[in-house]
Symmetry: C2
Subunit: 264 residues, 2 copies
């Protein structure tokens, strides 16, 4: 029997969260600790300057899980360090409305929840469905999520590595298979719409289009678009080791620091 | 003459921001576009569900820069895509109150501003001073920041790589030198304080202590603690390539997807 913490960034009322929790219940004990509202594009934000509250959330009188007035990373940290009476075997985040691939991983609250789980030393996984409409069908994604979570504690991933899973919006029998991918290079071409409020004051709203910039079938976006489940092992080892030696040569002149002061 | 966008996560009134902007003015044209309030630990958050406003910010009647009701990443994206009449040669973020090393890089709004600059294709750098008190002395850090920004466009860093610079809180002549470092492995040991508000309702507040877990003199925290300026080239190439092959073997059984449905 596994103990599983389920969270997301779309908030505790999101359909994808409940599809995930229901799919995982046969595996053991599942507890939901999720943001009390939509938290998309929050990145790996943590609430440090405000108090957090934990409110039992009910739907039709039935206890559903715990709602937290914070970010996905807050939910995981608070649940693991403080709220839960046990340490989870797995942190499962999602199922997100919309793909979290390429550069989107940096902005994704769904992935950041799994990142926080990983930082706490717990095998963690983020799930996203490539569908944006409110009535998206999470059934196939839920089956796949269960199959992956079941295996997660046995994969022996290195500490610090998590799985980022993206699932095509297709019926299960139309999904082509699973591909282990790398983070792709697709990018947003974005801009701000300049508008005026009813009082004549100017405001700006982020808009943009996602540009699929990869052709490599092993890139996350390409696998997904071709109808495959994309599983990317990700890791926040951010050092650009290839640049270290170059910089040592270039900054040699800055040693010792007395040379720097000549810049004054 | 360089064109430099200066931002931060401590907000437009922070002393470290103005120390940085003043230090860079001799290099060319400097424009400040910064959050209208403290935005620490926001990670790489972007505001997508709210309008953003840009307000000219004045101090003693003097124009200082543009304040934005958003995150550091919002400030950079909005400035570069919409507000500025020119494309910056450099995005400089900081000078942050407090070090941004090891795991803190993931949470740091200061670093996320530089990350957004890098995503937009602009050479970018984040500066942090290892001091937390309101009256911190940014003078030495400002001299070092200028020396680094001056060189940044000529370093020929790969697209996607930014510099994360941490500076000891010492007078310039006591700083030992510059070290090119890697992101260290230090971690927060954190917990939530459980408190009651004046109405008897429970709340939780994040607390913690930072555990220096590295001994390697080339780790960012160690260099900084030993009195060196730490410069880490960082890059959001998140794929854990070492795990890709292992996962291909482990998930072989998930291909084709029909096998997954047996998990039902």
């Amino acid at each position: 029997m596994m103990r599983i913490l389920v969270t997301n960034d779309d908030g505790i009322e999101a359909a994808g969260l409940h599809a995930l929790a229901e799919a995982l219940r046969p595996l053991g004990e599942v507890v939901i600790v999720a943001p009390d509202r939509q938290q998309s594009a929050v990145g790996h934000a943590l609430t440090v300057s405000e108090p957090l509250r934990i409110v039992p959330f009910r739907s039709n009188g039935q206890f559903v899980g715990y709602a937290v007035n914070g970010t996905p990373a807050d939910c995981v940290k608070l649940a693991v360090t403080t709220l839960l009476p046990w340490r989870p075997d797995v942190v499962a985040s999602g199922i997100n409305h919309g793909r979290n691939t390429a550069v989107n991983i940096l902005y994704s609250g769904t992935v950041s929840a799994a990142t926080e789980g990983t930082l706490l030393g717990i095998p963690s996984v983020a799930f996203s469905l490539d569908a944006y409409e409110a009535e998206a069908d999470f059934r196939a994604a839920a089956v796949i999520a269960r199959a992956i979570v079941e295996r997660l504690p046995f994969l022996r991933l290195p500490t610090g590595t998590l799985l980022n899973v993206n699932i095509p919006a297709l019926p299960l029998e139309q999904i082509c298979g699973v591909r282990i991918t790398h983070q792709g290079r697709s990018l947003w071409r974005d801009w701000y719409e300049r508008r005026r409020d009813p009082w004549g004051r100017e405001y700006f709203w982020l808009a943009g289009e996602y540009v699929l910039a990869d052709g490599d079938p092993e890139a996350d976006d390409v696998a997904l678009t071709q109808g495959y489940v994309s599983i990317t092992p990700i890791r926040y080892a951010l050092t650009d080791t290839a640049s270290v030696e170059q910089l040592r040569q270039q900054f040699g002149e800055l040693l010792p620091i007395s040379d720097v002061s000549h810049a004054k």
